[in-house]
């Protein structure tokens, strides 16, 4: 089966640090490259939770659990809205992180958890999606793409990967939205919010979401939900990056600084009074 051979290929590359991984030579001793397991090509997953181990160069991996990302389906597609703050403890490391990963022109992925984990695995997913397209002469469905990602990270379950992502796209069944995480969850749904600010985002979204929103209303709802999350959650902030996925692919709708949004929203409230 096409997909099973794809998956076998993925795990083989990363489990076997063969000295002859360069692809020439029939046996380990015949090639003479002499690479060992400690080579720079090793893909051993380092434990994220052991800075106190023997190896003094063990760096603490920066996790983006402090974040707010959301995505929801409506009649005109999928809206994806994210914040852009990265924190290391109580230090704000960056206010301009790109938390939406462009997998291909019609699939988007969001980033929460380990930044490296998200961007690496989603880039690998992009490669698998392209291979699928070439083999089958048709675009991969959102369900299949999310299943590929879920199966890839399932093989590393319990080894310290941290990834909570939403795979969003449009395929022949219409708008598609899947939540996939490093625990092994893969769920299809109409609305997801991930990260420390997700609770606040759910509150705004649950009260405003309807299937028949216009594009403008939907974008505004997503923007407001992220804004409210950044207002109350210390670990979310920066800008609200908004994307929309429609039948032709995705488009970047807007990037709004939350402080300016705050002024705009409180001005309009004052005007309404």
């Amino acid at each position: 089966m096409a997909l099973s051979s794809v998956l076998r290929g993925e795990s083989a590359e990363f489990y076997n640090n063969q000295p002859f991984a360069f692809g020439c030579g029939s046996g380990p001793s015949s090639v003479g490259y002499g690479s060992t397991a400690g080579d720079s090509l090793s893909f051993q997953v380092k434990s994220a939770f052991g800075p106190e181990e023997d190896d003094g160069s063990e760096k603490k991996i920066e996790f983006l659990h402090g974040t707010t990302t959301l995505a929801f389906k409506f009649q005109h597609g999928v809206i994806v809205a994210v914040d852009s703050r990265a924190t290391a403890g109580s230090y704000i490391a960056s206010q301009t992180v790109k938390k939406v990963i462009e997998i291909n022109p019609y699939l988007l992925g969001t980033m929460a958890g380990g930044a490296a984990d998200c961007s690496f695995w989603e880039r690998l997913l992009a490669r698998q999606c392209r291979i699928y397209e070439l083999r089958n002469k048709e675009r991969i469905s959102v369900a299949a793409a999310s299943k590929l990602l879920a199966n890839m990270v399932y093989q590393y379950k319990g080894m310290g990967l941290s990834m909570g992502t939403m795979v969003c796209g449009w395929d022949k069944r219409g708008p598609g939205l899947y939540y996939v995480d490093s625990e092994g969850n893969r769920v299809c749904g109409d609305l997801f919010a991930v990260g420390s600010g997700s609770m606040y985002a759910y509150g705004v979204m649950d009260s405003g979401l309807r299937h028949d929103l216009t594009v403008e209303e939907a974008c505004d709802l997503g923007r407001r939900a992220i804004y409210h999350a950044t207002y109350r959650d210390a670990y979310s902030g920066g800008q609200v990056n908004l994307y929309r996925v429609h039948s032709e692919g995705w488009e970047r709708v807007s990037e709004d600084n939350v402080l300016l949004l705050h002024e705009r929203l409180s001005d309009s409230e004052r005007a309404a009074e």
Binding site: A150, Y179, G184, N185, R186, V187, F192
Partner: protein
């Protein structure tokens, strides 16, 4: 916390599972289906660790379907239950045990209805009624209640969807 229940009748098996897919304290989905159709008259209900449930259940599902393709006839519910238990047992003392609790319900032409209880330690018991989880969630007064259930019936004519059961409002 998830809940499964199965009841064997004289010529049917009735099974129900809650519809919540949760990630720690957040309910990600309220209409999630935990039943996997192994064949026309066998259902596997699966709860447990995230990821393990779907991966294990789909593995069993595909293998049962493969048996049918290779041999021309389906595995009986008893055979499917024992196959499932064997897989659980084989993986139990490996580096990747599956932490899943299962109910397998089926109707066999010769033996009639059957309900099998399996847990993550690969215990297997054929029982007239069985459940996994904390059933007190069915009551309104428990602090963490489960809002709705998927209910299905298996008899000689196959698998039938019953109405999705919401908790009665006051």
């Amino acid at each position: 916390m998830e809940y499964l229940i199965g009841i064997q009748g004289p010529d049917f098996v009735l099974v129900a599972a809650d519809n919540v897919a949760a990630s720690s304290i957040i309910q990600m989905k309220h209409d999630y289906d935990k039943m996997f159709k192994l064949s026309e008259k066998i259902l596997l209900l699966c709860v447990g660790e995230a990821g393990d449930t779907v991966q294990f259940a789909e593995y069993i599902q595909k293998n049962v379907q493969l048996y049918k393709m290779r041999n021309g006839y389906e595995l009986s519910p008893a055979a499917a239950a024992n196959f499932t238990r064997k897989n659980l047992a084989d993986y139990l003392r490996s580096r990747t045990p599956y932490h899943v609790n299962l109910l397998l319900a089926g109707y066999d032409e010769a033996d009639g209805p059957g309900l099998y209880y399996m847990d993550y330690l690969s215990a297997l018991a054929k029982a007239p009624f069985a459940a996994h989880g904390y059933g007190a969630f069915l009551t309104l007064r428990f602090i963490l209640n489960l809002p709705s259930f998927t209910v299905r019936l298996i008899d000689k004519d196959g698998i039938h969807d019953m109405e999705r059961l919401p908790l009665a409002s006051k």
